[in-house]
Every structure is written in C-alpha cells, then in structure tokens.
Symmetry: C2
Subunit: 228 residues, 2 copies
C-alpha cells in the first residue's frame, strides 16, 4: 500500500466535514456526508515538482488526513470500518475556488475545480499503527511560513468509520483507494511563487511529527484557461 | 489495453454532447465541453451480474461511445488526438436522475448520481482499426426489446479530437483511461426486472455490429438509500 499513489484507482473526497470550515464558506452543516471524486492523475509527491496554478483560477488549499484503504469492501459496517484501513497520508485537496463557485451556481460537476493535474499533493504512506486514536490527528498548513490552517480530527462532523461506511454503501472501496476526510477552517488562496508547508502530527497539534513537507506553487503554462 | 477495465484509473464522462439530448433534459447547448468523473469501481462487464438499481433512485440509461486512451498525454493538440486512441468500447453511463436533479439544485457534486457500483457497463475492447471515421458510429439501446435510443456520432456537438484536447488541458490522460463521449436523445428510466440491449454499429446504424450485449437490472439490496 506504500505504492497507493501509483496503484490506487480512486480518490474520494468528503466535503464540509469540519463545522468551522463549512461555516467559513457560508455552507450549512451537512446532515449526511457528501463527497466528490478527484482523479488519481492529480496526485503529486513533494519533490516531484511544483503545484501548478491553472490559468484563470483562484486556488485554495485544504489540508486533509488521507485514509488509505487496504482491502475491497462494500456496505462496510461502522464497527468493521477500521479493519479496512491500511494507513494514512498527509494530503492537500487543492481547489480552484472560483471554478467551483461558478459550477455550483450552474449545477455542474465539481470535477474540473477539484481535478487539475497536481491538485492532490500527498506525502508518503504512514502505517496504521502510528495513529491509534483517529480523533487526535493534528493537521497544519502554512504559506511562506505563516500559519493558515491548524486543527485536529476531533472537530470532524462525521468520523472516519462513519465515512468509510457511508461511501462504501454507494461505491465499493478498493485496495489503494484514498479517502480525503475534509479540512479544518482557514482555507484561502495560494498562488504562483508561494511555498507551502503541510504537517501531520500525533497525538494532537503538539504531538510527534508523522509527516511534513514543503512544496512550491507555479503558474501553469498552457492548458485550459478558465474565463468565468 | 484490452484490460482497461482492470488497469485504467479514470473514466471521464462528457455531459450534453448531443444537441438533441441536451434539449430533451431542458439544458442549454454548452459553449465548451464539460465533464464529470465516474469511478472505475462502477465498471461491470456483461455476464458479470446485473446492473443494480440503488434504493430510492430513478435510474436513466445513457448509451455512449467509450474511447480508450493508449498513452499518456497532456495539452494534446486536436491534430494529434487520434494518436492517443487505443480503441473503443460500448458503454452505458447509468445515471440516478433524481439524485442528479437534487444535487444540481443544491450545487453539489454529481459523483454519487453517476458513481454507484455497476453504473458503468462496458463491453470488450474494440480495436481502433475497426472505426476509421469517428463521425459514423451508430449507437442504439433498447429495453425489453423496445428501441429507446438510436443515433450516430455525427450528432456530437464536440467531436472526439476536440474532447481529448479539451480534457487533457485540465487533467492528463493516461493509458487505460476511458472517455465517455455523451449520449444521443432518448434517455429514460430503467428499473428492476428490465433487460436492456446495447449495440454499437459501424458505419452508421445499419452497418456491421461491432459489439452488442444484454444485461438485466435488479434492485440493489442494502447500501445507501436516497431520500431526496
Ligand atoms: Mg476538501
Ligand atoms: Mg463531480
Ligand atoms: Mg452521459
């Protein structure tokens, strides 16, 4: 599963799963989880190049705990969900916010807003044994050294077993699939020339650093230009 | 590439790409293509079981030409698009129409409406050499022997090279990815107990049968229930 980035076939990303983040975007607290798909072609590892800012887009950062699925399952009961987890990864759900706002207003899919190349930075595989209490994961995100997001998974609206159970009742989960579990408040724009620092700690924000990385952002040359 | 169903990592599905179909759903003709993602976990081969009708959903059939990508490309010019095609497949883009209508009204993602298990029936790999003029592919779809959809790719708003170029300017295309190219008019409900027949012909609707298959639909037991 350390190879999930090359072998996994699906990224299921949960929306508005931290109450404070839902509020900051003016959204209601969802009554049940909802999710969208990011393509695996949007994966990028730190060190494999910059995150690209596509032409015409305003890109926001969303730091998230990624849950890596270890075996195929469907209609997984919450009580068994944990056994489907192989490990974790520190992920960023890059989002073209102006594209997303435009498609939301038109009732169109989110796939472009969420699916550009390099829009899913992920660090290495973190073995499951490193995180024994899923409510105590610390996530933080800085731009050019200035802290923008910091929160813990204690603030999730729907916990990880709930998410695994919910998603697997709609689409089966398979080995190497990644579940992005939502982002704490503090999202905002990041642009060409910026460098960001993402960090995953346990237990809590003052715990051990399980992963951290820095990546640069650059303007994408060529490709689709969003014109509103 | 005959193995695209097991090795491919992305299904990119184009919306409203036949003018008559856009009209029948009351949608405007798009000025540029738009697309959504279906998960590869929604693939099903004829013979591998029924198409499932999830609880609480009204499912519509959309018969489509699937284009199977043969090599990785990004920002592919229209003039080179054809060289990225490995072959074709006869696909059905199953759609939970009531779920889609609900999420469109709320500005939410289409991923659930389009991504349930068994929502992407696909036939075997059809070698590229079998179709020399991409504007002459015939598609038809019947339920219990009654013809519901029949049309040819001549009615596409954006042709296949345009679609490949457009999508690859947003997300790179990779070997085994499938592009669903839109559906002709005649979509409608299909439910438990129905059997459908899909057919792909060339050249035109009276040409040689390149693929045809029949599948049954059954009510899904368990899983998520859509309640509106
Ligand atoms: Mg997110
Ligand atoms: Mg979507
Ligand atoms: Mg379709």
């Amino acid at each position: 599963m350390s190879n999930f980035l090359r072998t996994g076939r699906k990224i299921v990303a949960i929306g508005r799963n931290y109450a404070d983040h839902a509020k900051e975007l003016g959204n209601a607290i969802p009554k049940e989880p909802f999710f969208f798909l990011k393509p695996t072609s949007s994966y990028i590892s730190p060190g494999d190049g910059p995150v690209e800012i596509p032409r015409g887009t305003i890109v926001h950062h969303e730091v998230e705990l990624g849950v890596i699925i270890g075996k195929t399952g469907r209609d997984i009961p919450k009580s068994e969900a944990e056994s489907y987890i192989a490990g974790y990864t520190l992920a960023v759900d890059m989002t073209a916010r102006n594209v997303q706002d435009a498609v939301k207003a038109k009732g169109l899919p989110w796939s472009t807003a969420k699916g550009y190349d390099t829009f899913c930075p992920v660090g290495p595989f973190i073995p499951k044994s490193k995180i024994t209490d899923l409510s105590k994961v610390g996530l933080s995100f800085s731009i050019n050294g200035n802290l923008k997001q910091s929160g813990t998974t204690a603030d999730m609206i729907f916990d990880v077993p709930h998410l695994i159970s919910f998603v697997s009742g709609i689409m089966k989960l398979e080995e190497g699939d990644v579940l992005l579990t939502g982002t704490p408040k503090g999202v905002g724009p990041i642009g060409p020339g910026d460098k960001f620092q993402a960090k995953l700690t346990y237990p809590g924000l003052d715990g051990q650093v399980l992963d951290q990385y820095e990546m640069a952002c650059e303007a994408r040359s060529g490709g689709y230009e969003f014109k509103g």
